[in-house]
């Protein structure tokens, strides 16, 4: 039996870390101020999913990784310049919002349509990957709804590890409470996997991978379909950033026990 899969990674974008985020109201709902100016990265949770997908595809000859991403096209192009150097994939681009205020159901609809339109896709050999959480908003809901729309009933969230057995059965390690993992064996694809952090480090930049990816990335961006997601069904009563207290100091070689004790003291004092 062939163990070749279509591994579809759904990944949004998130602002590059440490950026100053300023929510603002617009006629179409909340947005981030100067969103176009904020440098972006692939949502780190989904990035873990992508690296795991690549790792799996290398072990399963004939498998192919698709990256399905909804974001403003110009931001997608920017992120692809870095991401394309990491692992091989075929991009399916959707030109739409990625500011974290999109309704999970509408986002899932757009993703589902894009995935359904992938030529020659055999859903019985589909592994649907995404982030369990997100740097912007919880992605778990989006992935769950997406799985349902695509008819994927075997869903796993908070996954740390996946293995494909010779029989084609899929073994998954899910995070559960108490720092434990629940191990499940799923008879066959399709499955939906909401990844936690995975086990793989970020791959180095490989110029040859970049060159190969770019042959499909630019055409995919050029034909990116505009998303209809409008947040019309979702109303926000208000959007604010959590209050921040920033106290920076430099400590070298401070024992971890001392750091922990200081944190405990600070938490108790608050």
């Amino acid at each position: 039996m062939s163990n070749a899969y279509s591994i579809i990674v759904c990944a949004g974008l998130a602002p590059d870390p440490l950026q100053r985020l300023e929510p603002m109201d617009t006629p179409t709902g909340p947005a981030l101020k100067n969103e176009m100016m904020l440098p972006a990265v692939l949502d780190p949770w989904a990035a873990c999913a992508l690296y795991e997908a690549d790792n799996l595809a290398k072990k399963l000859p004939g498998s192919k990784v698709y990256l399905v991403s909804m974001a403003l096209k110009t931001k997608l192009q920017q992120v692809m310049m870095v991401l394309s150097q990491k692992v091989p994939f075929e991009l399916v681009a959707i030109d739409g919002p990625s500011n974290g205020f999109t309704d999970a159901r509408e986002c899932a609809s757009e993703l589902a349509q894009a995935i359904e339109a992938i030529p020659g896709l055999d859903k019985d050999k589909m592994l649907l990957f995404g982030g369990w959480e997100s740097a912007t908003r919880a992605a778990g809901a989006t992935m769950q709804i997406l799985g349902e729309k695509l008819g994927v009933v075997d869903q796993f969230q908070g996954v740390d590890k996946i293995e494909i057995e010779p029989s084609g059965a899929i073994k998954l390690w899910e995070r559960v409470e108490g720092g434990k993992q629940q191990v499940s064996l799923c008879e066959s694809a399709p499955v939906m996997v909401g990844w936690a952090t995975g086990e793989l480090p970020e791959p180095p930049n490989n110029p040859q991978v970049g060159m190969a990816n770019m042959r499909t990335v630019m055409p995919a961006l050029q034909k990116a379909k505009s998303a209809a997601a409008s947040s019309s069904a979702l109303k926000f009563k208000g959007v604010t950033l959590p209050a921040q207290v920033r106290e920076t100091r430099i400590e070298k070689d401070m024992p971890v026990e001392a750091i922990a004790q200081e944190l405990v003291t600070w938490i108790r004092g608050n």
């Binding site: 870390p17 440490l18 100016m37 310049m81 870095v82 150097q85 630019m218 920033r246």
Partner: protein, 616 residues
């Protein structure tokens, strides 16, 4: 040592660094490719049947990270984009007004000379009849050679992003950020391409299980636009030497903030301020107003500022708090922060512009004009000139030899305004070797006489200029006081500049966490500084025994990001995760290596990471 197996990639043209110069080069080249698609002279030699394969590697983690604000006449840029609409580029506006102000010292802590003190006293006593306000004397006019009327203020970060996105959208070139170039591949005095840095290594360079040797990118033409402290440019300077009489002795470190101004500040976008005189007479300042009540403001610390504890960060904060600037900035919010080195030798610092298989463009090629205070437009223009030369050679089917590149690119550059104005500026700043006032006189002489007059001087490398702390602060701080400060800082293992400035009478900075923040917070909330793992340290102290005997440690004091800190036995410690790649350590090392040739004890190589802000 075992030979490392390296992957190899072939391209027609490989570019190093995606700054304004490479932007000009690629913009001109892609325009030609787009307008003449299918013509045989634009066919790839390495991938038959395909168009030219043009690659560009940028060390920063994204396009537009780690650069600065600028005011420019933008002549070359407007030639490339005749219909440019500055409103379509974020943080850009046409120049609406320029002011030049001499800042008096309202605190009395600066090390200004008697002449400056007398000037301050005189100005204050005549303030009723002079254009004096807020401890500043606004000059009645801007010297014509400094004017930027008709130009624009803009963020180079945003401009580079705009250019880069247009280039990528064209599909004619590939730009790869986060990919530093270690060195050029040189064989028999010919440049054959570049080698990318190793990845999957420890900070020490030791291989990890993720090790990936840097790939060799071979190309018929290597375009070197990696700026003033780029690894490839440095390698070529060492390999081929500098032309007779040329040197790179003049430098500056520019440090700036981007500030969201208060709502009631009514400065018009496009307003430009230039200042001099404070916090020290040697320090020049600028403020540019962008749309949306955003200001880019900062200072330059030049290499002829002989203070060996020349911290840019604290000086920047004191400059910002000068009443003339503070009235606009107070109550604002820090949006971004950054720093970079500037190669200020101008045409005197011009290296060999080309050789077999390579050409140099931009700031690292000596294009910056230190008289007009302009570098971006010149850099852009040299890039366009190279592209025009390359297109000529492609059409003629000629190879990229030194001779052919000189007959095309270099000839165009020599015949252009970049060269003409560069010659005027060539000796304009030599007077600063003697001090600020001779320097200002020399600039004026050169500017008004179009380079016919200047103050002659024999320029020396920065490391040969340093005075000791005791010499520099003579009359201000006693030898005993300096010794006490040294001892306190040595015990606390910290830099010395804050204690010295405190002793000189500079007040402590009243941190507010919003605009006035610690230098570490400037890294985090301003520059958003980051460095991913898997790369080796790009700053090395070549001979640690020399560091142990140094005593001055200017590299520690100048470090823009406190990435170089005092270490045991006098050997500085480098923290790659804080570095903003300004390169100031390279030209601020006071210790020349025994072999001479001006090579000092700091090796500044290629590395990724650094600033993650595009608001600079």
């Amino acid at each position: 040592m075992a030979q490392v197996e390296r992957q190899k990639l072939e391209a027609d043209i490989v570019c190093v660094g995606m700054g304004p110069a490479t932007g000009g080069f690629l913009t001109t080249l892609t325009k030609e490719i787009s307008e003449h698609q299918g013509e045989s002279y634009l066919d790839s030699k390495v991938m038959p049947g395909m168009p030219l394969q043009v690659l560009c590697y940028e060390r920063a983690d994204d396009m537009g990270f780690g650069v600065s604000g600028v005011v420019s006449r933008a002549r070359g840029i407007k030639q490339s984009f005749p219909d440019i609409d500055w409103s379509q580029i974020q943080m850009a506006a046409p120049v609406k007004g320029e002011k030049l102000a001499y800042l008096l010292d309202p605190i009395g802590a600066s090390c200004r000379s008697g002449l400056f003190k007398f000037s301050d006293t005189l100005i204050r006593s005549l303030k009723a009849v002079l254009p004096y306000k807020d401890e500043a004397l606004e000059m009645p006019f801007i010297p014509p050679f400094m004017e930027k009327h008709g130009g624009a203020v803009f963020s180079i970060g945003q401009f580079n992003q705009w250019v880069g996105m247009n280039l990528m959208s064209s599909g004619q070139v590939q730009i790869w950020p986060g990919m530093p170039v270690e060195k050029p591949l040189v064989e028999n005095k010919k440049v054959k391409g570049v080698r990318l840095v190793n990845q999957g290594v420890e900070k020490s360079g030791a291989e990890t299980e993720m090790f990936m040797p840097g790939m060799d990118i071979e190309a018929a033409l290597t375009v070197v636009g990696d700026g003033p402290v780029g690894a490839v440019g440095q390698y070529l300077d060492e390999e081929f030497g500098m032309p007779q009489g040329h040197h790179k002795h003049e430098w500056a470190v520019g440090m700036k903030f981007v500030v969201q101004l208060r709502d009631d500040v009514d400065l018009e976008p496009g307003t430009v301020f230039h200042t001099f005189g404070y916090p020290e007479p040697e320090v020049f300042g600028f403020m540019y107003i962008y749309p949306g009540k955003v200001a880019s403001l900062g200072i330059f610390i030049p290499s002829w500022f002989d203070n060996p504890v020349r911290t840019a960060y604290r000086y920047l904060q004191h400059w910002m708090m000068h009443p003339y600037i503070w009235k606009h900035v107070k109550g604002g919010t820090l949006k971004s922060w950054g720093a970079k080195s500037l190669q200020e030798s101008g045409i005197t610092g011009e290296p060999h512009l080309c050789g077999d298989g390579y050409a140099r463009i931009g700031e690292g090629s000596g294009s910056t004009n230190v008289l007009t205070g302009s570098g971006v437009d010149e850099a852009w223009t040299t890039g366009t000139q190279l592209a025009e030369g390359v297109i000529e050679l492609l059409k003629a089917g000629k190879p990229f030899t030194k001779e052919n590149l000189e007959a095309t690119y270099v000839a165009k550059r020599r015949a252009s305004w970049v060269q003409e104005e560069g010659k005027v500026a060539e000796k304009s700043r030599n007077g600063f070797s003697y001090g600020v006032i001779p320097g200002l006189i020399g600039m004026s002489l050169a500017g008004f006489s179009k380079g016919l007059l200047n103050i002659p001087a024999k320029l020396v490398a920065p490391h040969k200029r340093y005075k000791s702390l005791e010499q520099y602060f003579a009359g201000k701080l006693s030898v005993q006081k300096i010794a006490e400060i040294r001892e306190i800082c040595k015990k606390a293992n910290k830099t010395i500049h804050d204690e010295i400035m405190n002793a000189c009478g500079w007040p402590e900075i009243p941190y507010d966490g919003t605009l006035l923040v610690t230098q570490q917070d400037a890294l985090l909330i301003g520059g958003k500084v980051q460095a991913q793992g898997g790369f080796a340290d790009h700053v090395e102290f070549i001979d640690t025994d020399i560091c142990k005997g140094c005593g001055m440690q200017v590299c520690v004091e100048i470090c823009s990001a406190q990435a170089i800190a005092p270490g045991e036995e006098g050997v500085p410690v480098f923290d790659r995760e804080k570095c903003v790649h300004c390169g100031a350590c390279l030209w601020n090392c006071s210790q020349e290596l025994p072999q001479g040739h001006g090579v000092t004890n700091v090796k500044f190589g290629a590395g990724c990471g650094g600033l993650h802000s595009v608001e600079n």
